[in-house]
């Protein structure tokens, strides 16, 4: 088979309608963004308003998602927490994704010394259990959104680097890569136009899982008391506060969990759709 034909025979872009799941994801994302921006105007109560007489009330017309042990409205707090959790989830994924993909691609494509160097750093970081690394970092520099994001980046980029490097290694061997090389494309064109687009989808699928994973890591930090300081509304912290009351007031921990679920579902749908699109375009 001729080289040109080999290139041509890679699957042609299929024209597709907007997938329903992607559409749903976009709608849900719009909801999240609106809530994140306008929580203060939508929420029926201020998220920090306490009231002893209103403590531990189950969901009702007055308090849609019930109240917590301080008598705070859980619905208002779930809404108010959206912004901070999206911030942590998105930034805590974006930075590791960019850093890890770039370094992973370089390592996989360049090989040699660059590969050895990058992968040794990866080995050192990956050698520390993720949560342990994050805990140690946050314990050292203190909690708060920015520090949690930095901690997630330090601990998280290595996963992307390994994944992308592995994919690049595979892609490098594929016939169409040989073909592009024979066609005289430049190294950077081969890497960025041909190899990377094919290596990215698995990383993107992983990134989408990571957004939620990072929200959950932030939750774990809140759970261990190392994340955002109370009484700031944050889903993870709310769940850890509600854990004490799981048996008699299940809604306190459950509702932020459901909000997490909603956000996670959003990014999963988006990620699935996006990865399909990317795969089609890349090949």
């Amino acid at each position: 088979m001729a080289v040109a034909e080999a290139v041509a025979s890679s699957p042609a872009p299929r024209r597709r309608r907007l997938q329903p799941s992607l559409a749903a994801g976009l709608v849900m994302l719009a909801v999240l963004v609106v809530v994140a921006v306008a929580a203060g105007r939508i929420a029926p109560y201020p998220p920090l308003a306490q009231s002893f007489s209103q403590a531990l009330l189950p969901p009702s017309a007055q308090h849609l998602l019930g109240t917590d042990n301080y008598g705070r409205d859980v619905f208002s707090r779930v809404l108010a927490a959206t912004r901070i959790d999206l911030e942590i989830g998105l930034l805590g994924t974006l930075f590791p994704f960019l850093l890890g993909s770039a370094l992973g691609a370089i390592a996989g494509y360049a090989g040699g010394l660059a590969d050895a160097l990058i992968m040794r750093v990866v080995d050192v970081i990956i050698a520390f259990p993720f949560l342990v690394l994050v805990i140690a970092f946050v314990a050292f520099v203190g909690g708060g959104t920015a520090n949690v994001v930095v901690a997630l980046t330090i601990g998280g980029w290595v996963g992307f680097a390994r994944l992308v490097r592995g994919e690049i290694l595979v892609q490098r061997q594929m016939e169409y890569a040989d073909a592009t090389r024979l066609l005289g494309y430049s190294r950077s064109r081969i890497l960025f136009r041909h190899l990377l687009p094919n290596a990215i989808p698995p990383a993107l699928v992983f990134a989408v899982s990571s957004i939620t994973l990072n929200i959950l890591t932030a939750a774990a930090l809140g759970f261990l008391g190392l994340g955002v300081s109370p009484p700031t509304p944050e889903w993870g912290l709310m769940m850890s506060e509600g854990e004490t009351f799981l048996f008699q007031a299940w809604w306190i921990a459950t509702m932020p969990g459901l909000a997490c679920l909603f956000a996670g579902l959003t990014f999963t749908l988006l990620g699935d759709g996006a990865s399909d699109l990317l795969r089609v375009r890349g090949q």
Binding site: F130, L131, V132, V170, L213
Partner: protein, 313 residues
């Protein structure tokens, strides 16, 4: 042969990485505010008593001297003595490692058993109802906090239904399987979901790739294509995610072990960091590090065995 050479080279490369790990873990810990002597002796201890205890532990020595002593001990297989428990780390570690090891392996087995059929069902019925169902089902564990799932499982299966014991490790292998079922299931769900998704993508990827097309063009039966190429691609995916997951497992184990009151390495590590039990944290970090590096090496070697297109050099 080539793979053996490669393995040998990687093992040699481990040494500088491990040295780096000891340096980072040692100095990072010492940078953290907090003093194990103050934690052991309590708030009532006088400054003099704390100073005396620090001297006894050698914590008043220059950092470099402490580091060299630690490395020297490590080189001779001496993991030191827990400051909190006044007991050799080695002695404390055995039973805890057994719990965590059992838990992690158990959860991986459960995870693979759950994920593989789901992923194949989804991929082979792409965009059909099995695919949508798997997509929804695998979302739930990925977006729920581990402790929350664990507690719900406990509530339902132990408290309400009395099917399984609430906590504990049990005394025999069969006992372990029963006692650790809920914790292993809790730990496995997010792993299974991640794996199922990745596996689905990998299978689709493999199905769509040119080499599959080539194979199809050569007139191989569809079944052979599936087995030879897709299964191979799937195994690469499993190996990758298992390799990744192992380094996450110890973190996940912290939460899971806490909820199910399991005396494993995860909770021990957490406790040791919070109490600044330097020896324990350093030793555990080193062991995790060495273990992870070996796992990564095995992952890479498995790649090259599974996928001849990957060269190991």
């Amino acid at each position: 042969m080539k793979q053996l050479q490669y393995a040998a080279r990687r093992i040699v490369q481990m040494i500088p990485v491990l040295v780096l790990v000891t340096i980072v873990s040692f100095f990072l810990l010492k940078l953290l505010p907090g003093d194990p002597a103050a934690m052991v002796l309590g708030d009532k201890a006088s400054d003099a008593a704390i100073a005396a205890f620090r001297h006894q532990l050698g914590l008043d020595q220059p950092l470099l001297a402490q580091y060299l002593l630690y490395v020297q001990h490590l080189a001779t297989g001496n993991l030191g003595t827990s400051i909190i428990y006044r007991t050799p780390v080695m002695e404390l570690m055995g039973p805890r490692a057994e719990v965590t090891g059992f838990l992690v392996v158990y959860s991986m087995v459960l995870g693979i058993l759950i994920a593989v059929p789901l992923a194949f069902a989804a991929a082979l019925h792409r965009d059909g109802w099995p695919d949508q169902l798997v997509r929804v089902v695998t979302t739930i564990p990925l977006v729920s906090p581990t402790f929350w799932i664990g507690l719900l499982l406990l509530l339902v299966f132990s408290v309400k239904l009395h099917w399984l014991p609430a906590t504990g490790f049990g005394e025999s292998f069969a006992d372990h399987l029963v006692h650790l079922f809920l914790p292993a299931l809790t730990l496995s769900l997010s792993f299974a979901a991640l794996l199922a998704r990745n596996l689905r993508a990998a299978i689709l990827d493999a199905l769509g790739r040119t080499f599959v097309d080539f194979a199809r063009a050569k007139g191989l039966p569809r079944r052979v294509i599936l087995y030879r190429h897709v299964l191979r691609a799937a195994l690469v995916s499993i190996v990758t995610i298992v390799g990744l997951q192992l380094s996450f497992a110890i973190g996940g184990a912290v939460v899971t072990e806490t909820v199910f009151a399991l005396p494993g390495l995860g909770t021990w590590m957490e406790q040791s960091i919070f109490a600044r039990d330097y020896q324990v944290v350093q030793s555990l970090t080193f062991i995790f590090a060495a273990g992870t590096i070996v796992i990564n090496l095995l992952t890479d070697l498995t790649y090259s065995v599974l996928d001849p297109r990957v060269t190991v050099d």
